[in-house]
């Protein structure tokens, strides 16, 4: 497991280390990203210089594989650190020596990335232990891959948990209700092990009101709750959180299947609560009591993120902004009004006084009269979310002239290709673009965006590395041009909404488009393909997409070969989701050895049979091979298959329609 990679140089840094306070400060240059050595030197007294390389500063932490202990070479107590003679530090010679935990733990506590921590924990037993004691945040990408008991057994001092549940295609109604991912079993274990838990972030979990009440009552230090794409709860659960969490700093409710019974949950925040920093209720529909909201915003001086829902009108928004000029992220309510009680200039001035705004979202119903009031706040904006505002091209163009610092932009396709040309003209620093369809189910007489808008953006925004693009037509040539202009793509998600749509100019499949993407973009991590695609696309992907981690495929491919290519290539693949493709058992079984290195595989409406899945389950006991039975499909077909690695064994809470083979 321990392998030695090339070393470049040793970072010399001056470190002051105080035994009493366990503070570690480092003055080293933190910009080196390819250092692969970690050098420790022994020490006991203060004022001894030691070679220290702060793990948190190194981006390629996973390349630290070998550690040298220079105990044998005590350094002198000087103001200057000697350079290390590379000949003396040979990789094979020095055995591992135990390091004092007081050194290791503070260093490791500075590492936040869970991937880095994973690598650190693999070094040796001492490091494994130091790491598990110093970890404060645990990220669980698939709630069924591990049991809560195992988690609390390994990590004794967690203060923050992130949990993800259902497969992503549940967002598009492909996963039946009551599938699982209930958070309650987790909460009951966490309450015993981590009574001082502060943060809980859930994505695609089933959350009930009881769970929220349990959370509110059993974690006295609870500070931050974030619910994204969860379902099963109502505003009553929010009432419990608001009422009982005395130290609440963050309440972030996004895009959930929530039963909105009314807005009185907001009035449940006690008068004594002043710690709120993040409040996002943009996706709730009911009206809240504005007086209570205004008082809440006034007394929470650290509030930096406020995203209100559509029921908040412009007058109310103005009042809120005057109370909270320190906001960095703002989500407005409805951004138009019929009866003008205050002149537009007033609103504009208010926006001008918000000097710290980095993000604006919401902007429902806005139009040419009211949108310009945000211009004074646009110069420093880095993220503009216009996906709820059906802007036309000229409205977008007029707005973007003021947004020269923009890095991320989300729009509806009502802006058209001309709007995207404006993006290319005015936003040279743009890194992320998402274009959503205003009318996704309209198939005739559609406007929207085309390939020319895409190319226009790529021309003007060379730093673009994340794109999500919904359109009705595309060409291979356009995509090739886009990736040539922007070879730095990390996330390329193209959705040609008409199923099986070829290149509309040449009538050929879109194979060459995605071939260009994977060939030209070496850093590609995430890819979603669409349009008419044959196995050639997958041959390209398997061959060239060396860094690909997430792949989404729908209505594509011609035969088993397609999936075989992908499973045979793509060494870094973690998540693969496939629907309605002609891939069968042979293809599934060709990836036998790969699935344990992946988080999950989803295949629905393909050509899998129960027998094929049984073979897989038999060969790979550490995978959960789950088939969701449909009433309509025949017994031998495996209509929906979800495969994932796990150390927790088969699910004990599976509903009757989920068969674990």
């Amino acid at each position: 497991m321990l392998t030695f990679i090339n070393y470049r140089y040793v970072v010399k840094c001056k470190v002051s280390y105080s035994i009493e306070t366990c503070n570690v400060t480092c003055f080293a240059s933190l910009s080196l990203s390819s250092v692969s050595w970690l050098l420790f030197s022994g020490f006991r007294e203060r004022n001894t210089y030691f070679h220290y390389w702060l793990l948190s500063s190194c981006k390629s932490i996973s390349s630290i594989h070998h550690i040298m202990d220079l105990n044998q070479k005590r350094t002198r107590m000087v103001d200057r650190v000697d350079s290390v003679d590379p000949d003396l530090v040979s990789p094979e010679s020095t055995p591992m020596c135990p390091f004092p935990d007081e050194v290791l733990e503070p260093v490791l506590s500075l590492i936040n990335s869970h991937k880095d921590r994973s690598s650190v924990s693999l070094v040796c037993k001492d490091w494994y232990n130091a790491e598990r004691w110093s970890r404060r945040h645990v990220f669980i990408g698939n709630c069924y891959s591990v049991s809560p008991e195992i988690v609390v057994g390994r990590f004794p001092k967690i203060r923050s948990v992130t949990l993800k549940g259902k497969p992503r295609f549940s967002d598009f109604n492909l996963v039946p209700e009551d599938w699982g991912a209930d958070v309650y079993p987790w909460l009951s274990v966490l309450a015993k092990a981590y009574p001082f838990l502060e943060e809980l972030r859930l994505k695609r979990m089933a959350v009930s009101d009881e769970s929220l009440e349990f959370l509110a009552m059993n974690f006295p230090e609870f500070k931050a709750l974030s619910l994204l794409s969860c379902d099963g709860f109502s505003t009553d659960g929010l009432k419990a959180i608001a009422t009982h969490c005395r130290n609440l700093a963050e309440l972030d409710i996004q895009e959930n299947g929530i039963d909105d019974l009314g807005g009185d949950w907001l009035s449940c925040f006690p008068e004594t609560l002043t710690t709120l920093q993040v409040l996002n209720f943009a996706s709730l529909n009911s009206e809240v009591n504005f007086n209570d909201l205004e008082k809440l915003v006034t007394r929470c001086k650290s509030l930096r993120v406020l995203k209100v829902n559509r029921t908040i009108n412009l007058d109310q928004l103005q009042k809120l902004l005057l109370r909270a000029p320190q906001l960095t992220e703002l989500g407005t309510g409805t951004f138009t009004q019929d009866l003008v009680t205050r002149p537009v200039a007033d609103l504009e001035a208010t926006f001008g006084s918000c000097k710290n705004l980095l993000t604006i979202s919401g902007l429902w119903d806005t139009n040419s009269l009211y949108l310009p009031v945000i211009y004074p706040a646009c110069a420093s904006l880095t993220f503009l979310n216009l996906s709820c505002a059906a802007l036309r091209s000229f409205e977008l163009a007029m707005l973007l002239i003021h947004c020269k610092s923009l890095r991320r932009l989300w729009v509806l396709d009502t802006v058209g290709d001309m709007g995207l040309e404006a993006v290319g003209s005015w936003c040279p620093l743009l890194e992320e673009l998402r274009v959503f369809p205003a009318d996704p189910f309209e198939q005739e007489n559609v406007a929207g965006v085309t390939e020319s808008g895409f190319v226009a953006v790529s021309r003007g925004c060379p730093k673009l590395h994340y794109v999500l693009y919904f359109c009705h037509q595309m060409t291979n040539a356009a995509v090739a041009t886009v990736v040539q202009n922007c070879p730095g793509f990390t996330h390329f998600r193209l959705c040609i909404m008409n199923l099986g749509q070829p290149d509309y100019v040449t009538n050929e499949p879109m194979d060459e488009a995605f071939g260009a993407v994977v060939r030209t973009c070496p850093n590609l991590q995430r890819l979603a393909v669409s349009g008419l695609l044959t196995d050639l696309t997958f041959e390209y992907i398997g061959k060239y997409a060396k860094n690909l981690e997430i792949l989404s495929v729908a209505f594509a491919g011609s035969s088993d070969l397609g999936l075989k290519y992908v499973l045979g290539g793509c060494p870094r693949l973690r998540k693969l989701e496939i629907r309605d493709c002609p891939f069968g058992n042979a293809a599934l079984l060709s990836g036998l050895t790969k699935y344990e290195s992946m988080r999950s595989l989803w295949m629905s409406a393909c050509n899998l049979t129960m027998n094929g899945c049984r073979v897989l389950a038999k060969e790979m006991p550490r995978l959960n091979v789950e088939v969701m039975k449909d009433e309509d499909s025949e017994d031998s077909q495996a209509h929906k298959v979800y495969i994932y690695r796990t150390v927790a064994g088969p699910r004990r809470d599976a509903p009757p329609f989920v068969l674990t083979l």
Partner: protein, 280 residues
Amino acid sequence: MSVPLEHDYIGLSDASSLERSTESSNINVFTLKATELSLGLPGFGKNSEENAKFGPVVKNYMSGAKRGFSDVNFNGSGPSGKWALNGGSEADLCRGVNCVFEKNQTSSSDVKPVEEEKKGPVKAQVVGWPPIRSFRKNTMATNLPKSGDVAEANLGSGECLYVKVSMDGAPYLRKIDLKIYRNYAELSTALEKMFSCFTLGQCTSNGIKGRDGLTESKLKDLLHGSECVLTYEDKDGDWMLVGDVPWEMFIDSCKRLRITKGSEAIGLAPRSTAKCKNRN
């Protein structure tokens, strides 16, 4: 067209309702099958010849479509409510249904159900495609510019403005969503469609039955002529003449609508005609 298609949205004709109920299951079967064959997947039917060379691909789309269609949800009302087919044997029924679909594909103006104002065949949607989160679908549906498409507007939850419309002499009232119209002309057209059956035989205007029977000018005659006047009750409870104020102000203050006729209208009608002619 061998089977005459009668479009009667006020009430389904008694004669055919019985047949429809017994044969509704057959209609469903034929509907789905016909949908599969003649509509295909969106964007697909056009290139069917070119796509023939991608044989297995084509097949798979079809088979994929088959699975998808088990979850198909048709826009607007269900199949059994859409086509009021007059009697006939089962064979006629098949032909009728096939004719319906052929017509749907080519020119759907004749078969247009009244609930949808725009043309278009029944849209068979594949579950979960395009991959948009339902949260976003609802947000965008309520945000669309007023296109007059009732089906889309109904997806959203917040932005409807339903007002009752009563017509003197009509047995029951109607309810319309004012937000889906952009101006008085669209409102007039919609009201005309709704109430045409009641006005026939009661007004001196033409008595042609059917959707396209009444043009806008005839409607104006109808509604603003000596016989009928369109009025609305505003926020203060007063009855006002429709057409005086800008459209935006109108939909803000309108609480209910009333089409008055006969003696009550006499005082207003001549002036209103003149006014409306000026305005329009």
